[in-house]
């Protein structure tokens, strides 16, 4: 197998894992208890500045364009949809961003307090 093919194979696998992770995070959210106490703060500019480069760009874009899908964010950042989806879900896990469904689409927005 050539190096390129190998890389492609790895990328494909990573994307498959991403999609699965997305689904798991989505499910976990819909099961989470609504009365769960809200202890984290919403994302402010100083906290945003302390994020690693890739997450900061994603978070900044979400501030600029408002609630958006991973696809919409990726059009602004010129990254792969799957990559942005990964970053957005990291931000969800860090509780800076919240994820919600509208119809068949998954939207992300900066968490509000």
């Amino acid at each position: 197998m050539s190096e390129n093919e190998l890389l492609e194979e790895i990328l494909k696998n990573l994307q498959a894992i991403n999609t699965k992770l997305d689904r798991i995070v989505g499910k976990k959210e819909s099961f989470s208890e609504p009365e769960k106490e809200d202890i984290t703060d919403s994302l402010d500019i100083m906290t945003l500045l302390s994020l690693p480069d890739h997450l900061r760009t994603t978070a900044t874009t979400l501030f600029e364009i408002g609630p958006a899908t991973a696809e919409e964010v990726s059009k602004v950042t010129f990254k792969e949809r799957a990559v942005e989806s990964n970053y957005l879900n990291q931000l969800v896990r860090m509780e800076h961003v919240e994820k919600y469904r509208e119809g068949r689409k998954v939207y992300f927005r900066i968490r509000e307090k």
Partner: protein, 248 residues
């Protein structure tokens, strides 16, 4: 496309307000529709230059109590500018300033969202240029304004302290936010033996303005309107042209 500038500096008293006001007027005189917003909530200045009769302030925009339309005022007739000139003031009442100083991160996060929505509304109102006059250093309102802008206009004075702090701001704030930057080297003390650099900290210097007493003594006027031939005014018009050529 609406173009948004944040006039910022590491230290106080470098000339941010003077440059923000005169640049806004220069753009308006050039036929652009301009909105100048005082986001120096902790040290409001525009209210002392324009003497507003207002009920709502930039404070109310940031806190989400009012939209941008209630916050800004048309001063084009008063100043006879070619294009529209709108100004939004921050509230000089000390109780209001104290109130803002105690706001937490959640409030500041919402404030950034409100500022960005305000900016989008201004774009729909055909505003060409938005200028934020900010507080010096790393204040929440200022960094929010930087985050909401297309270009940071750094007003710099050459002193050791200002040099160090400006460099820090570039490394720690502007670059991480991917902001374009330009420098105005203000209150420049001319030295005939020195050839002035085109760049500072790797950033283009769009104007170098000498220190002139009558800029300070005439600071209730908007020199770009009352005396466009003044060295200060000419420098501002040059900066404007350079910004238009290189950044817009």
């Amino acid at each position: 496309m609406t173009f948004t500038l944040a006039v910022h500096s590491s230290k106080g008293g470098t000339g941010k307000t003077s440059i923000a006001v005169n640049l806004a007027a220069a753009y308006a005189q050039d036929g652009k529709n301009v909105c100048l917003l005082d986001v120096d909530i902790r040290g409001p200045s525009l209210c002392s230059i324009f003497k507003p009769e207002t009920q709502f302030w930039v404070n109310d925009l940031l806190s989400g109590k009012r939209g941008i339309n209630d916050t800004i005022h048309d001063v084009s007739d008063e100043f006879g500018t070619e294009g529209k000139l709108f100004v939004g003031y921050s509230n000089p009442d000390i109780n209001e300033i104290r109130e803002i100083a105690r706001k937490d991160r959640n409030w500041q996060s919402a404030a950034l969202k409100n500022l960005i929505s305000g900016k989008k509304e201004l774009a729909n109102k055909n505003i060409d240029i938005i200028i934020f006059d900010t507080s010096p250093g790393v204040e929440y309102e200022s960094i929010n304004a930087v985050a909401a802008s297309d270009l940071v206009l750094i007003v710099h004075n050459s002193s050791a302290a200002c040099d160090n702090c400006t460099d820090q701001l570039i490394q720690g704030i502007y670059s991480p936010l991917n902001k374009q930057c330009a420098i105005v080297d203000n209150m420049y003390h001319q030295n005939v033996l020195e050839t002035p650099d085109e760049k500072k900290f790797g950033i283009d210097v769009v104007a170098r303005i000498p220190c002139m007493c009558n800029v300070a003594t005439r600071n209730r006027e908007i020199l770009t309107l009352t005396e466009p031939e003044h060295v200060f005014s000419k420098s501002i018009y040059t900066a404007k042209d350079k910004i238009d050529r290189s950044y817009r």
